[in-house]
Subunit: 427 residues, 2 copies
């Protein structure tokens, strides 16, 4: 252990926002102060105990599976009723404004269904691997759990995350602009381990991956990605996959758009060309300015967003704040995040919080003294390949305005003098 430091020595090592900044916070204990909701003489500690400090609470037997506090009921997934024709082929958004770290709580992980949430009996479920390979297989869940396992922390993002922003259909909400991204620790088998077991034939170039849901959601994946870092997972943040995430088995395609991370995975077919399924032709493609269509745009490029302050979490008067947010890139690790508090004129380097993992949400923080005047906040992610998150203008110049998918533009939050925060787009 380090030697105890005197007060003056500690002052020298204090963070920049330390004693200068936060002295305005909290109530000094001179005179009376609030303790337990009622005024109490704080210099005669302890004051009268509040009720909740005197009641013996429930013991260990009433909640074999725990639940959040009754006081945080508002922290839930939300959907936008008009966004899709049906609720069975729709999306719910995670409350990113209330996510404290890089792990998304299993109960709050965003949902995207193409045929509703399938209910699959794991004892009956099978994974079939067939096509251009030496030894087609039909695997039970017990079989799959026998294979060598890995655990990885990765984000999943729907490419439609931010889609409403392309045309400025703004709901003034972080949850709705960026809530189709979540992050978890996944456990399962490398797809390369399974493909090694079945023995790919020489011309094997593509895999069709298919779900057991009513939509039989399917996508084509190049075999190089399958042999790289794709996982077939059954575990999520300390327990079995949640039904919303494809219980009992899903694909994790690290860094690639959500819809290829097939849920309720039941079939992998190996072939020598892509299948051009409905979900990679009529959907998940992008109409460009010149009338051509971009397809197979799997990769999630460098992206970031400020989660505090945001429309749901306004500021409370001038003073020092910690700006907080998440950054992520489908190409690997986040190298750094810059923050602008003047609409992109000046940029300062934010702190990254450990752990910084490839293709995972990465938390950043940045100390900021707000003078109470109106301003514009932005964050900009740079990943280990040197890719720099673009502005919405840069993105529109390349992609036009027909897009729904793959909006990784820098987000601008407008701060008004009363501390309220608005979703705006700079020209």
């Amino acid at each position: 252990m380090k030697a105890n430091k005197s007060g003056s020595e500690q002052k020298q090592k204090s963070e920049s926002i330390g004693r200068r900044g936060f002295l305005a916070l909290g109530s000094a204990l001179a005179g009376s102060a609030m303790m337990g909701g009622k005024a109490a003489a704080a210099d005669s500690y302890p004051p009268k105990d509040p009720d909740w400090s005197l009641m013996l609470g429930p013991g260990v037997v009433d909640r074999p599976y725990g639940q959040p506090s009754q006081f945080v009921k508002g922290v839930i997934r939300r959907n936008v009723p008009w966004l899709t024709a049906t609720q069975e082929s729709s999306v719910s958004f995670t409350p990113l404004q209330d996510q404290p770290g890089i792990i998304t709580a299993n109960g709050l992980f965003f949902e995207r269904y193409h045929g509703g949430r399938a209910t699959v009996d794991p004892a009956q479920h099978r994974l079939m691997i067939h096509g251009m390979l030496e030894r087609p297989l039909l695997l039970t869940m017990d079989d799959i759990r026998r294979f060598p396992s890995v655990s990885r922390i990765h984000f999943i993002e729907c490419p439609a995350n931010g889609g409403m922003e392309w045309r400025a259909a703004q709901l003034n909400s972080l949850q709705f602009t960026h809530g189709m991204v979540s992050c978890a620790e996944w456990t399962g088998v490398k797809l390369s381990t399974l493909l090694d077991e079945v023995g790919l034939k020489k011309d094997a170039k593509w895999a069709l991956v298919e779900g057991a849901d009513a939509a039989h959601m399917d996508r084509s994946l190049p075999i190089e990605k399958c042999l790289d870092d794709v996982l077939v997972v059954y575990g999520q943040n300390g327990e079995a996959l949640r039904p919303e995430q494809g219980f009992p088995l899903r694909l994790i395609v690290p860094g690639w758009q959500g819809n290829v991370n097939i849920k309720w995975l039941r079939r992998i077919q190996i072939g020598d060309q892509p299948w051009f399924t409905r979900e990679e032709t009529s959907k998940y493609t992008e109409l460009m300015k010149d009338g051509t269509v971009r397809g197979f745009t799997w990769l999630i490029y460098a992206k970031s967003v400020i989660t505090f302050p945001c429309p749901e979490k306004p500021l409370k008067g001038a003073g020092i704040y910690e700006i907080r947010g998440f950054a992520w890139s489908g190409k690997g690790k986040v190298t750094h995040v810059d923050v602008s508090t003047d609409g992109g004129v000046n940029w300062e380097r934010a702190k990254l919080q450990d752990p910084v993992l490839p293709k995972a949400l990465t938390r950043f923080t940045h100390e900021w003294r707000w003078d109470g005047k109106p301003t514009l906040l932005q964050s900009r992610c740079v990943d280990e390949t040197g890719f720099v998150q673009p502005t919405i203008s840069e993105l529109r110049a390349v992609r036009g305005v027909n897009g729904i998918y793959n909006n990784n533009a820098i987000q601008t939050w407008q701060v008004k003098p009363d501390g309220s925060v608005y979703d705006v787009q700079l020209a």
Copy 2:
């Protein structure tokens, strides 16, 4: 992307357990095979869809906060009714045998109460910091959230974890031998940041930390630890702290025994000597062979356990298996884990799974060909300080047999020819 590899090239890079080992798994697709629970001609894929693959599932509106699958209801916390006099001062054990990665699901995190689970209104809750300091403070939850924040993944272990093993009161269950350890991503404020704000006086040497529960659970902590890595946290795995874990505010004392990680934290008093509270005198001390008592034994030493196979997860016949488990150390990172499949005669180095983080659960795996004969499985953790996890005999030689706490001995699982697994102690 890497170039596509032909089947023969892949074979060369296969893992040791690959094509040789797992060919026994799964059903080859020649002839008929099981798909969807009933026999189906697998060469005419797809076979008849099972019911669950044809039904449109619920949409995105029915579960704003999700729940585990109806098929995993047995994965729950469990308690031992006879272990404690009341259920309000007791413990529940996490189902470690079903934890796939290093993160423990919030709903399954082990519980330890001294006065039951407190129900605390965050709007009414206050943290008081007073004593030998320049500027005592009373902080609201909003105040605390304003301070610079950090996120860390750390385990918490009750020092009584494994306590029943000291006297061989064996329940033949991994959940009950090792289920008082869990691991989460915590978000909050460094205690050093708060102490820097209040300004410690020169003679400040100890902190009393106290909870708002009915037990007013309190412990003394040396100021060096408080200024090192202790956190005051409000976030847990993507959401607010769970009530079981001290909502809205708890202390995280990385690598130190669970009971000092005060839940429902309401008060920190700074002084120049320890308080010798009830929970550090009559409890959480160890009676040694010579009649003296060890106190203030905070540190969790290097420890590990095999989670597969285990009593709850037996083997299914001879063949190749992946042995899986967790290792942890309160002194820092796990450097390596050795596994013995012959009762400690020979040891082999296990693989560690990323991420390997200080004072966090670390997952290890080890491939093993079981010949179907009876044997003894063990794992042994070594941490970055060089500390080697001891045998139970080594531990008894030093500590005697009066102990309840701090049993970090190597665990032995006896495997019988039918694949069943038993908790045994070697002489």
